[in-house]
């Protein structure tokens, strides 16, 4: 188990290294000059040169990358912005704020959004899928399957404004979505985020419904489930104690990936409800040619994915005793 974790964490660090290097390179492959944008509209060549120097962009690419990398672990001194303590991801070209600080500020919004949406997704997705599998072929199954297809076909930027118009503006049932820190006002946090949670989960839930249904149907046809029935186990025991155990593995797998994606920023949902999370930060970084911010957001998103991948692998071993963590 320990050696498994050590190896997986080393592997994860390698992946993050590669991702950051590729992102770094790609940014320069794009024919746009961040220094020119930084310099302003009227920009004499000597000023541009100075800006380049101050941003550290007059050095070879791999040296720049090396400085960036070292900054994460040791901090660095930037000509333009001054001291940047570790973990230093640099300063935003656009807003001049430290990248790490900006991400830390935005993270609670993304985390809240992800947390609430995950609960809605898992609860609705799995329960609906279970009902469909229990009543397979019957009207309830057909209703559940059909509504999951409809859910999967909807778009956040369509459902979001529509629901906001009815629930917030017309009926005034819930407040306009925004982020209220949970530490300040838990009830406000809940009510203000309820609509984004629901809207974000609509498209994801459908996946889990279909996955749960098909996995349960498949597991229920397994030999060991027949054995359980032959032992006199009740339908409920067969369903929850035997079949569910096997159906969980693929669900855990896709949930790990979805969770990581959400933590990397739910861009469309954040844009739709003007929530200032990681996703919004990423969009702005792209629009502003903001390399440090873009790299920071990319690395955080990638880190979420590799960490959750390890968590999922560890979970496998808990669900299925045949899986050995070696």
């Amino acid at each position: 188990m320990t050696s498994f974790l050590v190896r997986r964490i080393l592997g994860a660090l390698m992946i993050l290294l590669i991702i950051s290097a590729v992102t770094f390179y790609l940014f320069y492959a794009v024919p746009r000059d961040p220094a020119r944008a930084f310099c302003g509209k009227i920009c004499p060549p000597e000023t541009l040169q100075l800006v380049r120097h101050n941003l550290g962009m007059d050095e070879p690419l791999f040296v720049q990358y090396w400085h960036w990398l070292v900054g994460i672990f040791a901090g660095r001194e930037l000509v333009q912005f001054g001291d940047c303590p570790a973990p230093c991801l640099g300063y935003s070209f656009a807003t001049q704020e430290p990248v790490f600080g900006a991400i830390v500020d935005r993270f609670p919004v993304t985390l809240s959004l992800t947390f609430g949406a995950s609960i809605v997704i898992l609860a609705f997705g799995i329960i609906t899928g279970m009902i469909a599998a229990w009543k397979v072929g019957q009207p309830l199954d057909k209703i559940a399957s059909a509504s999951s297809v409809i859910g999967a076909s909807l778009q956040i930027y369509f459902v979001g404004p529509l629901l906001a118009f009815y629930l917030v503006d017309t009926m005034q049932l819930i407040p306009r979505p925004s982020y209220v820190p949970v530490t300040e006002d838990p009830v406000g946090w809940f009510t203000h985020l309820l609509l984004p949670w629901v809207v974000l989960s609509i498209i994801f839930t459908a996946n889990y419904t279909r996955m749960t249904r098909s996995q349960m149907v498949e597991q229920l046809a397994e030999d060991y489930v027949r054995t359980a029935r032959a032992k006199g186990m009740s339908n409920r025991a067969v369903f929850f104690r035997f079949a569910w155990r096997g159906a969980m593995i693929p669900i855990v797998t896709i949930f790990g990936v979805d969770l990581a994606t959400l933590l990397g920023g739910a861009i469309i949902t954040e844009q739709t409800f003007t929530l200032h999370g990681i996703g919004e930060l990423a969009v702005r970084a792209v629009q502003n040619n903001d390399l440090p911010m873009l790299l920071g957001v990319t690395i955080v998103g990638a880190a979420m994915i590799v960490i959750l991948n390890i968590v999922v692998d560890v979970l496998y071993a808990f669900i299925d005793p045949r899986v050995r963590l070696t």
Partner: protein
């Protein structure tokens, strides 16, 4: 609906009879292509403490019959007709709660492939123990002790350690022993073994069959042994039922059926089986053709497309009318040939075989 009595409700009880009695059983599956007549008009009896071997090709309805006894067919796609009496209780019309109480307690089943038939997610001990807990209301501790005892009884070494292992940590033979332990944990009256040795290698096969025999002698369990291996039947069973296309082709004691087989299909089965005492050069004679489609069974005798003797028995009978097993008790078979004709055909067959053996030996000598 909390108590289920075994005395039977009004209208479901009947006088004393065999321990298990299957009467005119039919099992039909509705599929997209039509209705499959997996079992069609099958009757047989099983006495207490004896072993019935059910033999037949794949798709002859052996397993389907036994899943019907346990009520394990999906009711949404299955039509079951006829009667199944376990002592004084009819099982086809029994409700779900009754069947749940019965399964694993009075009637238990072991399956062909113990790797897929055991849950990969639970320890052997838990899988054995939960049957005991369900039917005997035992505590976790009692169930575990019982599981250890059962593992010891079926000859698993170090049962106190093995009880906490998972099926994938057992070898094939050990897994089947664990499966048997699980089936016998509540001392069932009837054990259905569905090809229990097919997935095992030959040396382990013999051990498992011996184990079943020993347990039967100790506890007086009745056993239905489903197999396509006549050798297994010869060693283990008291009675034999040869099934073909969802029906009984022949039934009788082991001695009767294997020594004096009457149905041409049984002849085919016997001559397609290698024997230790015959020369290796005598070619095995498989039953020609393939088993019939049960979606669309042949008219008359279902075996007629593969049979060599319809001309002898009378084509209008063989092609036109389904034969019943006769006589009704004892050694009987479903074929229109007369007993004399069968005896004669057997004698010619046997002499053909002897000739083939002699031929083979002379070739050896040359």
């Amino acid at each position: 609906m909390t108590t289920v009595s075994w005395s039977g409700e009004p209208g479901t009880s009947r006088g004393p009879g065999p321990f298990l009695s299957v009467r005119d059983l039919s099992v039909e599956f509705s599929t997209e292509d039509g209705v499959v007549h997996a079992v069609d008009g099958l009757s047989f009896d099983l006495e207490k403490g004896t072993t019935l071997g059910i033999v037949g090709e794949s798709g002859s309805g052996k397993s389907v019959t036994n899943l019907a006894i346990l009520g394990l067919h999906d009711p949404a796609h299955t039509q079951i007709g006829g009667e199944i009496w376990l002592e004084d209780r009819e099982l086809i019309t029994a409700d779900r709660a009754t069947m749940e109480k019965l399964r694993g307690d009075r009637v238990a089943m072991i399956f062909q492939d113990p790797l897929t038939a055991l849950s990969p997610f639970h320890t052997i001990g838990r899988q054995i123990g939960e049957v005991y807990r369900k039917h005997r209301g035992a505590s976790k501790k009692e169930a575990r002790d019982r599981a250890v005892e059962m593992l010891r009884r079926v000859g698993i070494p170090q049962p106190e350690v093995r009880v906490d292992h998972y099926p994938h940590e057992f070898s094939g033979g050990m897994r089947q022993r664990a499966m048997i332990a699980m089936a016998l944990v509540c001392d069932p009256d009837l054990l259905i073994a569905d090809e229990p040795t097919t997935a095992l290698d030959v040396t382990v096969q013999a051990q498992i069959l011996d184990l079943l025999k020993d347990l039967q002698q100790q506890f007086g369990t009745s056993i239905i042994l489903i197999t396509h291996d006549l050798g297994v039947v010869a060693n283990t069973a008291d009675d034999v039922l040869v099934m073909y296309a969802g029906r009984a082709a022949e039934r009788g004691t082991v001695r009767e059926v294997l020594r004096e087989p009457r149905h041409p299909y049984t002849w085919g089965l016997l001559s397609s089986m290698p024997r230790l005492n015959s020369s290796v050069d005598v070619p095995l004679k498989p039953v020609r053709g393939t088993p019939p489609s049960l979606l669309n069974p042949p008219s008359g005798c279902p075996f007629h497309p593969r049979c060599d003797y319809p001309r002898l028995a009378g084509p209008e009978l063989c092609f036109g009318q389904r034969p019943d097993v006769s006589p009704e008790t004892g050694h009987g078979d479903a074929c229109y040939l007369t007993l004399e004709q069968k005896r004669e055909l057997r004698t010619t067959q046997a002499s053909d075989q002897t000739e083939a053996q002699i031929d083979a030996r002379t070739e050896d000598g040359a």
